[in-house]
């Protein structure tokens, strides 16, 4: 479902070709995409974490007493860290022997690359979501506040 997203990760050199194949669910027999669809799990994890984090931020700013808008960056840092940890949790153990196609050359750096890509995706998602006026209008105090503009 989200293979296309991680193909972009490969194009911008966050993700290697072998890791992309692994994320798509190449099975341990190296015969086809019958294995765990890590790309889907990773994408859904950053979507939930990022949207959940922003949702809570909206909730916090909307709730009296008003929180200072400076917490935006702090919340984003937390979202990024949680995204990284979640991605590592999803993909980290899968590169150990016996858990992936052994023809794919995978190592710890590849995992770190995927985790950073998920962080990047989370940040971009946050920028997009908070930039959309119709979403901002759902809040009382954030109508003029976005990820990149604090009013």
């Amino acid at each position: 479902m989200f293979d296309w997203l991680y193909s972009i990760g490969k194009d911008i050199h966050f993700i290697t070709g072998d890791m992309l194949t692994h994320l798509k669910g190449f099975d341990i027999r190296c015969s086809g995409y019958y294995g765990t669809p890590y790309a889907t799990y990773l994408a859904i994890s950053f979507l939930i974490i990022t949207l959940g984090g922003i949702g809570m931020q909206y909730f916090a700013i909307d709730s009296p007493p008003k929180r200072p808008v400076a917490t935006w960056w702090f919340v984003e840092l937390i979202i990024a860290i949680v995204n990284f940890i979640a991605a590592y949790f999803v993909i980290g153990s899968s590169i150990s022997p016996g858990h992936h196609c052994k023809d794919l050359m995978l190592n710890g750096l590849d995992v770190i690359g995927v985790c950073f890509f998920n962080v990047l995706c989370g940040l971009i998602l946050a920028m997009l979501v908070t930039g959309l006026p119709w979403i901002r209008r759902m809040s009382t105090n954030n109508v003029f506040t976005t990820f990149y503009k604090n009013n």
Binding site: T21, I28, R29, C30, Y34, I48, G98
Partner: protein, 493 residues
């Protein structure tokens, strides 16, 4: 509820939606994890296998060669997927532990009889004169047949030249021993018939006429063509070849025929008749041949159960030909190991190559793929030799046979083929195996046997090449174009 709370709650809908998405995507289990889960308890029951087959049907494209044969789910392939996935994950599970009742057993057919036709023309006297390797080989082979655990209903023995001159039906082990002990020039002479010439076409015709589902026939001869006194054999070789082609072609029009030829050697002592029918007394080792004729399934079973492998004195060479409408397409499994450059398997390992790029430093694009030749009739050694393959000229082919104990995920394949090129382009790659007489036929064939005492000539058979070529021409006429198997891989940049 005021507008403020309504808005706030709306914000929380989005992550809730994705959480639900995550939950449902987790529920849809992938084939690999399901196979491992099934294998955990060491046995797979009927219901579990049925559920897994349903999952395969849901999760894969209909026609995926991993699971489908002729657009129908192949239970054997599904079971292989489960067992090999479990093995790759370190879980031991045998195919016997997987319910296989849904696989329809093949109804047992009536067993055929095994018929031995011993050619007894004059040139064969040298092979049965005294204690020879010829007698030992025939006796050991027939011993294998009689002890083949009921594979045949009975063994019948015949002497043959231009006609059948002797017959012994339902030979027991005692009659067999007697038959071998009586193999000598005097017995051959006593049985009569026309022993002065060897018309191979006629010989084949007689044996082919009696070959059917109920009769597996074996013809033993030196297969030296000899038209008889006053005639030059060399001039008639092409006619013999064409005649043999016609005989075999007529037979395979309505019968699923397979023929196996094995070359053996024996000490000989006696007269050899050259192309001008001039006799020369010879003593030494000469080749002789055993031809097996029968239904494809029977000949394949004989080959696979090793009936011909432990003949006393050993087999020098062998070949097999069989009826087949077109080159048999074989599935492949692409590998990421040993690749040069980059590519993707968008359709899985049995699919095509996408996004092919050559290596940046050497401009070479190369990849490995596996093929299973175990179900074909030729010996696996045939597939080891690149000389037996035809492929696209811009690629170089190397081959390795997989050994036991390699990666269990590749256990169902026999050969690893490696293709490399410096001229990468969008292309449909074809790797064929040749259906041509093997090199030993040409090397062991003579066109002039007048100096038969020459040690090199002693190892050859006059006109063998024409005889074998006639058979190949019958079996592998167009659209075969002399190809027996095919692997096709599309490469896209």
């Amino acid at each position: 509820m005021n507008n403020f709370y309504l808005r706030r709650r709306s914000i929380l809908y989005l992550p809730g939606f994705f959480a639900a998405l995550f939950f449902f995507s987790s529920c849809g289990q992938n084939l690999q994890d399901k196979a491992i889960e099934l294998g955990q308890d060491g046995k797979i029951k009927k219901e579990e296998l049925r559920d897994f087959i349903n999952l395969v049907s849901d999760k894969t494209d209909h026609g995926d060669p991993q699971f489908y044969t002729a657009n129908k789910i192949d239970t054997n392939k599904v079971i292989t997927f489960i067992t090999s996935t479990c093995e790759a994950a370190g879980i031991r599970i045998n195919k016997e532990d997987v319910y296989s009742g849904s696989v329809k057993p093949i109804p047992p057919k009536g067993k055929p009889s095994f018929n031995v036709y011993m050619e007894d023309s004059e040139s064969m006297d040298a092979y049965v004169n005294g204690q020879t390797g010829f007698k030992d080989a025939v006796y050991s082979l027939l011993g294998n047949v009689i002890n083949s655990d009921g594979a045949f209903t009975g063994t019948n023995l015949y002497y043959i030249n231009n006609q059948i001159t002797f017959r012994q039906q339902n030979a027991s082990s005692n009659t067999l021993l007697q038959f071998i002990q009586n193999l000598d020039p005097q017995t051959f002479r006593k049985n009569g018939g026309n022993r002065s010439s060897s018309d191979m076409r006629r010989l084949f015709q007689q044996v082919l006429d009696s070959t059917d589902d109920r009769h597996v026939n074996m013809l033993v001869s030196d297969f030296v063509f000899s038209p008889g006194r006053g005639q030059n054999a060399a001039l008639s070789l092409q006619q013999q070849s064409t005649g043999i082609k016609i005989s075999f072609a007529q037979k395979i029009q309505h019968f699923d025929l397979a023929v196996e030829v094995i070359q053996l050697r024996s000490n000989v002592s006696g007269k050899y008749f050259d192309e001008n029918d001039r006799p020369t007394v010879i003593s030494g080792n000469r080749p002789f041949y055993i031809w097996l004729f029968g239904p494809k399934a029977e000949i394949n079973a004989i080959r696979k159960n090793g009936l011909l492998n432990n003949i006393k004195g050993g087999v020098d060479h062998s070949l097999v030909v069989y009826k087949q409408a077109v080159p048999l397409i074989h599935a492949h499994k692409l590998l990421y190991t040993n690749k040069q450059g980059e590519f993707e398997m968008t359709d899985g390992a049995s699919g095509d190559i996408h996004g092919a790029k050559p290596g940046e430093t050497n401009n070479i694009f190369a990849f490995d793929f596996l093929v299973d030749y175990s179900k074909d009739m030729e010996d696996l050694a045939f597939y080891d030799d690149t000389a037996n393959y035809v492929h696209d000229h811009n690629y170089k082919l190397t081959i390795n046979r997989l050994t036991a104990g390699e990666d269990p995920a590749n256990a169902s394949y026999t050969h690893r083929l490696h293709l490399s090129t410096t001229a990468l382009d969008d292309q449909d790659l074809h790797v064929y195996t040749k259906a041509e007489p093997p090199r030993w036929v040409m090397a062991g064939s003579s066109m002039d046997d007048r100096n038969i005492r020459d040690p090199l000539e002693m190892r050859k058979t006059f006109g063998l090449q024409y005889l074998i070529q006639g058979v190949y021409d019958a079996f592998y006429a167009p659209p075969h174009q002399n190809k027996s198997t095919e692997v096709q891989i599309t490469v896209k940049k």
